[in-house]
């Protein structure tokens, strides 16, 4: 029996052990689990009792039982309390929702039962019905991640959560709780970053987060201003971005609050006593910075600014400056002071030292100059830094006599020249100049002849009366007095042509001159340069060189490019300067500004001689090195010659054919060619050729033309005869003209027409014109058709025939009857209807109409009277009057031919009344038509 009991006990122990190692329920369940939340820190502390040291933990969001932590941790028993404790940092504010936790013990693979759930309630429980957002007013570093939750008010909907202006994706944690996570947060604005929870209709709640940086302060330095207290300053460093008072950086210096920095936001702190070492602590919610400094007081003296700076004694060349100190302790301090003098081009800095320095004498000032003085000092021993600057103080030095002038004399001929002097700079004038005094003396005259010149003058003309040297003294005057006179004696004039000048080549625009030292140059040398060929007011410049020098570099600053300069070196002594050497050169050669002058071509047979003249020197702008001759074609210039000798100013172009040519001649310097001068020439033949071409060829052509015309005329002789020698029709006399005519019943014709009627006989007893009835006009026009339309040669021939006949014996023989003869010779009667009234026509030339027929019947004894009347009428009437004058001129005219062909000829009715040709058919038209049509 005892054996069975023992076996059963052993079996039960064996099973129990095996169950305890591999099964559930063997390990004791942890006891007394409690949850202690730290809401601002978002941590949850779990404490429990257990004999085990390994535990499984699970934490849930209670409402939805979402597991947020499932972890196995090894936690030892606290020897003091005998409890196990473990802390969990929640990424979510613990207020957001209720959290539950339970725990079980673990021993390798065996675990105990879970402990009962322990819960901490969130703010989303029904008892807290208002909206809330967590966390509030959190201060976090830039770049961190953060989770915000919004607890929605009971019976309110949820729309969104905004982080700043950004709409975030929200996660639902419970019935009323939604959460977002902002990652890599940027620095906030002045009032933080707003996180807003909104429903469909309004803002439910919100929070502000302050995102910034920990303090970035650096470089703590402490110094003393009064040799007793301390001032420590530092650099603020990076802006923390935290503006709100609660998150600003707070400073302590050696454990004391730094009021200057904390309240006034100045980056320094003061301490009433100097300490050997200093520690500044800068702290904000995101971090802490410790800054250290240590130094002896004497090594950190930073003096205050001098006060009451005054100039107690101001002279032309010096001044005494005084000041005082606001700190009495400075009076024993060995200090060094620095004065800064500011003036126009006269800035300088001077150092002074001494114990408690409060006065200095400023030497080497310039007269009549406005100085502005600024003063600052520092400790001489263990110099730390310059102290504060004093307020600027102005000093104006007194005037002094000007310095001696730099004088030179330039001779432009053997007996004329000019004295030049250079204007004095501010440093040399020592006060505003009021003028110059020029005195001259010569060997012939005793004493000096002074002349005063206004301050704007810098030259004075000199004339040598008899060729003897003149010494000129020039002095400048300002209110303080007259300068020492500068004398110069006229140098001997040496024209350029008298010297063998060498060409001066420039180096980078400058002339490098050197000459043989001269024993007579007791006062040194003078280098003079002036534009070559200049006359009148020339820009003469010079530079005086010490006796020890025999070289000089004439800089390009005082030279003009493209201008030829004559550079002379004189030896200076007590007497007149002696010319040592002379050059000519350009600081920079340029292409000539003008082309060659007077470019002329001269043909000689098939050659052309081009000749020209060089351009004026002022236009050369460089030494002429030669000329190039081009033949200008349509599109380009063809180089035909390059003359490298500038003295050669002609060129012969040979072997040109008869054509037109255009030549371009360009002068060139080392800088290149000018634009070129162009000349054109047309090659012509010589005399023999001209004789042949000009005379014989035209003659031959003319002969050929004559022969052709003759042949043509011969073949067309019938037509020629009809065209040029037409048959003259005989006169047709209408009506019976044999019986004498009765008195005329003259009535005016309505038209201004000329009626020509053939009159076989002329009755001289009739006075006035013969009127023709209108009905007869047409027939009469027909009758005179041939006459009226004849061309002039034909008319003349016709006229000659009529006149030559002399068939009318009743013609008067005297000249006064020439008009009658003329009228009679044509055997026509001319009637002017409408031109004048027949009754008034008796007045001869007195009327404005046509009058020759009336004059023809006036006796020859009356021409003078007639002329005078006519002359007067000329001024009154604009009518047709040539026959009046002709009447006057013609009495002595024996030769009728003198009036033939004249428009004033009565015979020529065509000339008198050209209008009639428009009204009548013109035979000339027929002739012309025949000619064109080729009819014979």
């Amino acid at each position: 029996m005892q054996g069975w009991v023992t076996l059963a006990l052993l079996l039960s122990l064996g099973v129990g052990c095996s169950l305890g190692q591999n099964g559930v329920g063997e390990l004791p369940v942890p006891r007394g689990l409690t949850l202690n939340p730290d809401l601002p820190a978002q941590t949850l502390s779990l404490t429990w009792q257990s004999d085990s040291s390994l535990f499984d933990l699970e934490i849930f969001h209670t409402e939805l039982m979402n597991v947020v932590l499932n972890e196995t941790v090894a936690v030892k028993t606290d020897p003091v309390t005998g409890l196990h404790s473990w802390t969990w940092h929640s990424p979510l504010p613990l207020e957001c929702t209720s959290h539950s936790a339970h725990i079980r013990a673990r021993n390798q693979q065996s675990v105990s039962q879970w402990s009962p759930l322990q819960t901490i309630p969130g703010w989303d429980i029904p008892e807290k019905s208002e909206s809330n957002m967590f966390p509030q007013d959190k201060v976090v570093p830039v770049g961190s991640n953060m989770t915000f939750c919004c607890i929605v008010k009971e019976k309110e909907d949820f729309k969104e959560i905004m982080y700043g202006r950004q709409e975030m994706s929200a996660t639902r944690l419970s019935r009323r709780t939604y959460a977002i996570t902002a990652t890599n947060q940027p620095v906030s604005g002045n009032t933080g970053t707003n996180v807003i929870c909104c429903s469909q209709r309004l803002t439910l709640t919100g929070a502000v987060v302050f995102v910034g940086y920990p303090p970035g302060d650096e470089g703590l330095v402490c110094e003393t201003r009064d040799l007793a207290s301390a001032e420590c300053s530092w650099k603020k460093g990076r802006d923390t971005g935290l503006r709100m008072r609660r998150s600003r950086t707070k400073y302590t210096l050696n454990g004391r609050d730094c009021l200057e920095a904390n309240e006034r936001k100045r980056w320094w702190c003061s301490s009433k006593a100097w300490e050997q070492s200093w520690t500044l602590v800068a702290r904000n919610p995101l971090g802490t910075v410790h800054l250290m400094d240590s130094a002896q007081l004497t090594d950190r003296v930073h003096l205050l600014a001098p006060v009451n700076v005054t100039a107690v004694e101001v002279k032309a060349w010096s001044a005494t400056l005084q000041w005082s100190w606001s700190v009495a302790a400075y009076k024993k301090l060995e200090m060094v002071c620095q004065l800064q003098l500011f003036a126009h081009e006269l800035n300088s800095t001077r150092n002074y030292s001494g114990p408690g320095l409060s006065s200095v004498v400023l030497e080497s000032l310039w007269p009549d100059v406005d100085y502005t003085v600024t003063l600052y000092c520092g400790s001489k021993h263990g110099f730390w830094k310059w102290g504060d600057k004093s307020a600027p103080y102005r000093i104006h030095t007194k005037m002094d006599r000007p310095d001696a002038l730099d004088v030179w004399m330039w001779m432009d001929s053997s007996n004329t020249g000019c004295v030049f002097w250079k204007p004095l700079s501010v440093r040399k004038s020592h006060g505003a100049l009021v003028g110059y005094e020029v005195s001259q003396s010569s060997a012939e005259e005793d004493g000096w002849t002074p002349v005063s010149l206004p301050p704007g003058n810098f030259s004075y003309p000199i004339i040598l009366n008899n060729g003897s040297d003149i010494t000129v003294a020039v002095a400048a005057r300002n209110p303080a007095g007259l300068s020492q006179p500068s004398t110069v004696t006229t140098p001997a004039y040496r024209a350029d042509s008298q010297l063998s000048m060498s060409e001066l080549l420039s180096t980078n625009g400058s002339f490098v001159l050197s000459w043989q030292p001269n024993a007579n140059a007791s006062s040194g040398y003078a280098v003079e340069w002036v534009p070559t060929g200049c006359s009148g007011l020339c820009p003469v410049d010079w530079k005086k060189v010490p006796e020890s020098d025999s070289s000089f570099t004439l800089n390009s600053d005082s030279l003009v490019a493209g201008v030829r300069y004559t550079v002379s070196v004189y030896a200076l002594s007590t007497g007149a300067p002696t010319l040592l050497q002379r050059w000519q050169g350009y600081s920079q050669e340029m292409t000539p500004s003008q082309s060659v002058r007077e470019l002329l071509p001269n043909q000689s047979g098939s050659d052309v001689l081009l000749s020209w003249k060089a351009t004026a020197m002022e236009n050369q702008r460089g030494f002429i090195r030669g000329y190039t001759i081009y033949l200008a074609n349509a599109a380009h210039l063809e180089l035909i010659a390059n003359i490298s000798d500038p003295e050669v100013q002609s060129y012969r172009v040979k072997g040109l054919s008869l054509s037109s040519y255009k030549f371009v001649v360009k002068a060139y310097t080392s800088a290149g060619e000018d634009a070129g001068a162009t000349v054109a020439i047309k090659m012509e033949m010589d005399t023999a050729d001209m004789l042949f071409v000009g005379i014989l060829v035209p003659l031959g052509i003319m002969f050929c033309c004559l022969i052709l015309i003759s042949i043509c005329c011969y073949k067309k002789r019938e037509w020629v005869k009809k065209a040029f020698y037409p048959e003259i029709p005989g006169p047709k006399v209408p009506g019976d003209w044999s019986s004498p005519q009765g008195p005329l019943d003259v009535k005016p014709s309505p038209h201004s027409l000329v009626h020509i009627v053939e009159s076989p006989e002329w009755d001289f007893t009739k006075e006035g014109l013969f009127p023709v009835p209108e009905e007869e006009e047409e027939s009469e026009n027909d009758n005179i058709e041939v006459d009226a339309d004849s061309d002039e040669p034909a008319l003349l021939r016709y006229y000659n025939q009529v006149v030559g006949d002399g068939s009318h014996g009743n013609q008067v023989s005297d000249s006064s009857g020439s008009s009658n003869t003329s009228v009679d010779s044509t055997q026509t009667e001319i009637t002017y209807a409408g031109i004048q009234s027949p009754t008034s026509s008796q007045g001869a030339c007195g009327g404005g109409g046509y009058r020759p027929q009336m004059q023809s019947v006036i006796g020859p004894a009356e021409p003078q009277i007639e002329f005078e009347a006519d002359f007067q009428d000329d001024g009154l009437h604009a009518g047709y009057k040539p026959q009046c004058s002709w009447q006057l001129d013609s009495p002595e005219a024996e030769n009728f031919s003198g009036s033939l062909g004249s428009p004033t000829s009565v015979t020529s009715s065509q000339f008198l009344i050209p209008e009639s040709s428009e009204e009548k058919p013109q035979p000339s038209n027929t002739w012309f038509h025949n000619f064109l049509s080729g009819k014979s």
């Binding site: 957002m133 509030q136 007013d137 905004m162 202006r165 002045n190 009032t191 933080g192 707003n194 807003i196 909104c198 309004l202 803002t203 709640t205 919100g206 929070a207 502000v208 503006r243 709100m244 008072r245 609660r246 936001k265």
Partner: protein, 195 residues
């Protein structure tokens, strides 16, 4: 400014009520602009209007049958607004310091000064304290913090927004009431002159 022209232009025989009404109109425009500036700083206010109760009400005041009594009521509300504004300034200066001196801070001070002038002007109009709704109990600035129901920054921003809304509302009410008051006074004076 038009408002400045209203208040600065010398008008002969302009009544005190008329001047007070003009000052109230000017102050109303200032308050409106101040709220715009605040919305520029806290841009969420432009998108979502916070809800909640009014900060200044006259619910406890009796009915005001006369215009003079209405002026007295408005003046009481303005006095409360003045207390809120002073509390607002203290809080903002305490939080932000005085180094921020933008347009908002400048206009905030102007509103405070002009509101003080308006209170003085309306007080002078009410010769016998007529319309005397008992003024709200003196508000300590700490009580102003209580008004926001929390001490966090977001609640303070909402509270500031509400204070500015109250300023706009009551300055507008003041301008209208003072205008009516001026019109009635003017009519009475004319009737007296006719008699």
């Amino acid at each position: 400014m038009e408002g400045a022209a209203d208040s600065d232009t010398p008008v002969p025989e302009r009544s005190a009520a008329d001047r007070a009404a003009a000052l109230a109109r000017l102050l109303h425009r200032d308050c409106t602009r101040l709220l715009e500036l605040y919305k520029e700083r806290e841009d969420f206010l432009s998108q979502h209007a916070p809800g909640g109760e009014r900060l200044v009400t006259l619910a406890l005041c009796p009915e005001a049958p006369s215009t003079a009594e209405q002026v007295g009521h408005v003046r009481s509300a303005l006095r409360r607004c003045m207390e809120l504004l002073e509390c607002l300034i203290v809080r903002e200066v305490e939080e932000m310091g005085e180094e921020l001196q933008g347009e908002y801070e400048s206009l905030r001070k102007t509103v405070k000064d002009r509101l003080g002038h308006l209170l003085h002007s309306t007080g002078a109009l009410l010769e016998n304290g007529e319309g005397g709704c008992p003024p709200s109990p003196p508000m300590q600035c700490i009580q102003g913090q209580d008004e926001v129901e929390a001490s966090d920054s977001f609640a303070a921003k909402i509270w500031t927004y509400k204070v500015l809304l109250e300023l706009i509302h009551w300055t507008d009410s003041a301008s209208q009431t003072l205008h009516v008051f001026h019109t009635e006074k003017h009519g009475q004076q004319q009737q007296q002159q006719l008699l």
